[in-house]
Amino acid sequence: MAGQTKNTSSTGASDRAPRTFRVWRGDGQGGKFHDYSTEVGEGMVVLDAIHQIQAESAPDLACRWNCKAGKCGSCSAEINGQPRLMCMTRMDQLPPEGPVTVEPMRAFPAIRDLVTDVSHNFRAKKSIKKFSPRKPDAPDGTWRMQQADVDRVQEFRKCIECFLCQDVCHVLRDHHKHEEFVGPRLFVYTAALEMHPLDTENRLGDLKNKHGLGYCNITKCCTKVCPEHITITDNSIIPLKERVVDEFYDPLTRLFRIFKPAK
């Protein structure tokens, strides 16, 4: 379906005014940007504009969304080149002039329009050893944990699996190491398991040998885009790297391990 181009003026605060959206359309074989004009008004987010375009002129424009409130992590895209959630990007946060470009996440293969193949993330997660708790603390089968001890893990568990961090990470985006490197989202996931007060599994060997932790050179791009404000690098990746070093390279720790079970 062909888009139409119109000249647009800037958007007033409360009244509705037309605005051009330059939306990437295509599939795995390739594609190009199409211009659509639609009216935007107060409080609108980019996802609203995409929906309006679907209803008005491009009923087959593909995108993912569910909650429209930043809770499900479905609507990830690159808006004016920035990886963001479409439902949490207000029009009045974008520059008032010029077209708004909307394109799919580039670190994943395109399926159609704004929809990408994110199956890498599901496969990678499955390769990480699952939670395995210690024996219950109380006879009724329950555990005791202090709030202070779970705060860090709760930070990681806020992750909505939007995969925006995966999208910006150069190891995936530019170097396509999908087979050797699970990516920042899955490091956050691993950290949540490793730092879970009840967990008894050891995932450090896998991090080093299977999951490519060493590829991360701490550029912190992932942390910058996380809509949940998880401090991915400082709180999860760096501590994991330290643990790997302690486990495999520090001779003293290695000696201790002979006498003490891991963890």
């Binding site: 969304w65 909650c67 409130a69 944990m145 202090q146």
Partner: protein, 607 residues
């Protein structure tokens, strides 16, 4: 002829929210092969949006709590139209299901002595909701998802089931299409579990996402199953009202649980003005007592903001209609005021309600630690759904099970907040267990290819009318008109005349829906998906309106201006909707089953 792929499993679960995931885990643990089919990616189902918490009488915060009190609270909230067996099992089994989530890795907020913390919520006598800040649903779905992926379940993401397949009376599989390519698939199964969630998209203002088009309700209805209690749609009192594009998005009841108060434009706490008789004994006499309650004083009663949702929603509606509302047609919900009571209140609010803080600052430019929010009622949940057996969750059609929001019975005329998340895991587990049992006992049936071909033809028909046939109706336009009809005529305040008009309009919309045309390809084509969903939305809309007309009283979530009181006569029946032999929808009165004396006694003791 259109091609399709056929797969075989012992059990197929349709829907991957809390209920579907829990059912799939249980069936696979029982040794069955399981297919789990969902419209979105794994982990994105509605359950992820749940905020406040899950109700379970663990008595970690107040040791006076027990399953009996939870049972009595649930029955009172449901105005005694609940399936009492479900209310009993739910109250008894919820604590074990919460602990099981912890054993699978969930990290709930903690009490000082290191146990699972519980918070206050409307209609619950004691602090009862296990929670994680205001993102409890995310914790639940992620825990079940991360546990489930190691169970050997076959997951089919972004696939939509359009028809159930039958062998005689019995359901033996499902037909669906994938969004990526628009190709069809048949899942043959010995048992099918519906866990498709709700119907919110039938209304204009709703907290629900595009997925909530009543698919499971309609699939079951078409397969001959009974629907129950469809007149009871919950309007949550607090949805966002401004800016327009976020209208309806939920503001968790947790805000009121943490001390948030409702005020009209004159600053009056209007909830004190109208306290129903059956809650008088349990409601704070003044603001001071209300505050003591939310801060954990066991001798205090709850503030009126924490009365049941139907009541709070109607009070807000009344204030707005009387011209005492906020600038954008809601009322004020104020949590910032607690700075008078709590040192460092800004940090406290951000810690307790992080995603509400984030939601308002990002979407509405409002800092809830400093100024009040504007809120108004939003369509939130349907108590009605597939009629099931309380123990096994099997519908009236053999081999077809239902759990979660798509099933009916537990909540009666009104659901208490927090009772859904616990519902999902209690009855998701049961549905999985009994579906597995059924599969083992009954073995495989046969699917009929003529049925499959007819269903595919129907699903593809909009394409013939679109590009090929000169256009046809626009699916989005029909959907939007339906939402208008339901919002305006079958909403929070109902009358006979308006609802009869709604039924007529739904009839007209059905003929328009039959002419919907779509253009373009079959891959990720939202126009086509909307055209298919329309049929389901129309079916549930008709069911809601017909049942609401038949119940000539106000009870629980249903408020009728022409019958503003409860009627003793109407207390005696539930309403069932069923497809007649002539293809028309029939409304049937089903007498309420009398309570066994031991349960009656529990209710009397907790009056």
């Amino acid at each position: 002829m259109e091609q399709y792929q056929t797969l075989e499993h012992d059990v197929v679960v349709i829907g991957a929210g809390g209920a579907g995931l829990r059912a799939a885990i249980e069936a696979s643990a029982a040794g069955c092969t399981v297919a789990l089919v969902c419209k979105s990616l794994l982990g994105k189902a509605h359950t992820v949006m749940a905020e406040g918490g899950m109700a379970a009488a663990m008595a970690n915060v107040d040791d006076r709590d027990s399953w009996k009190v939870h049972f009595a609270d649930t029955m009172r909230g449901g105005q005694y139209l609940n399936n009492w067996r479900m209310a009993q099992l739910h109250a008894q089994e919820a604590p074990a299901r919460v602990r099981e989530l912890e054993a699978w890795g969930a990290v709930f907020d903690r009490t000082k002595d290191g146990r699972i913390l519980q918070r206050n919520f409307g209609g619950h006598r004691y602090p009862r909701l296990a929670h994680v800040g205001d993102r409890t649903g995310l914790e639940m779905i992620r825990t079940l998802q991360d546990h489930g992926i190691h169970q050997g379940i076959d997951v089919f993401m972004e696939m939509t089931v359009v028809s159930l397949l039958k062998d005689g009376d019995r359901v033996v599989g499902a037909l669906g299409y994938d969004r990526e390519r628009g190709r069809f698939r048949v899942w043959k199964a010995k048992a099918v579990v519906l866990a498709t969630g709700g119907v919110g998209k039938a209304f204009r203002i709703t907290s629900n996402s595009w997925e909530y088009t009543g698919d499971g309700h309609a699939l079951a209805y078409e397969a001959g199953a009974d629907l129950l209690d469809m007149e009871f749609v919950q309007f949550h009192p607090t949805g966002m009202v401004w800016p327009p594009s976020v209208r309806g998005i939920l503001v968790t009841e947790g805000v009121r649980g943490e001390g948030g108060v409702l005020r009209n434009k004159d600053g009056r706490r209007f909830m004190f003005d109208d306290i129903p008789d059956n809650y008088k004994n349990q409601t704070a006499r003044d603001e001071e007592e209300g505050w003591r309650y939310v801060t954990g004083d066991k001798n205090a009663n709850r503030p009126p903001e924490l009365l049941t949702r139907d009541h709070v929603a109607r009070c807000i509606n009344r204030e707005v209609k009387a011209g005492r509302g906020s600038p954008h047609g809601g009322v004020f919900l104020d949590i910032a005021w607690i700075k008078e009571k709590v040192a460092n209140s800004e940090e406290h609010i951000k810690k307790k309600l992080p995603s509400m803080y984030h939601q308002f600052i990002t979407l509405a430019n409002i800092d809830i630690t400093k100024v009040p929010m504007e809120v108004g009622p939003t369509t939130h949940y349907i108590m009605g759904g597939v009629r099931v057996d309380g123990d096994t969750q099997m519908s009236t059609v053999p081999g077809l099970f239902a759990a979660g929001e798509v099933a009916a019975g537990l909540h009666g005329a009104n659901r208490l907040g927090g009772n859904s998340l616990s519902d999902l895991v209690v009855f998701g587990k049961r549905a999985g267990e009994y579906a597995a049992k059924w599969a083992k006992e009954k073995g495989a049936g046969t699917t009929n290819s003529a049925q499959v071909e007819e269903a595919m033809r129907l699903a593809l028909a909009p394409f013939d009318r679109g590009d090929g046939g000169g256009g046809g109706e626009n699916a989005f336009a029909v959907q939007s008109d339906l939402q208008g009809t339901m919002q305006d005529l079958v909403g929070i305040v109902r009358t006979e005349n308006e609802m009869l008009r709604a039924i007529e309009e739904v009839g007209q919309l059905k003929s328009r829906a039959a002419k919907v045309g779509v253009s373009g390809h079959r891959e990720y084509n939202p126009g086509w998906h909307t055209a298919i969903d329309l049929h389901n939305l129309l079916t549930v809309s008709e069911a809601i309106a017909r049942a609401a007309v038949e119940r000539k009283e106000s009870r629980g979530a249903q408020f009728r201006e022409d019958f503003p009181e409860k009627s003793a006569e109407c207390a005696k029946f539930n309403l069932i909707l069923r497809k007649g032999a002539d293809g028309q929808m029939k409304v049937v009165r089903e007498p309420v089953k009398p309570l066994p004396s031991d349960l009656q006694q529990i209710i009397d003791e907790n009056k």
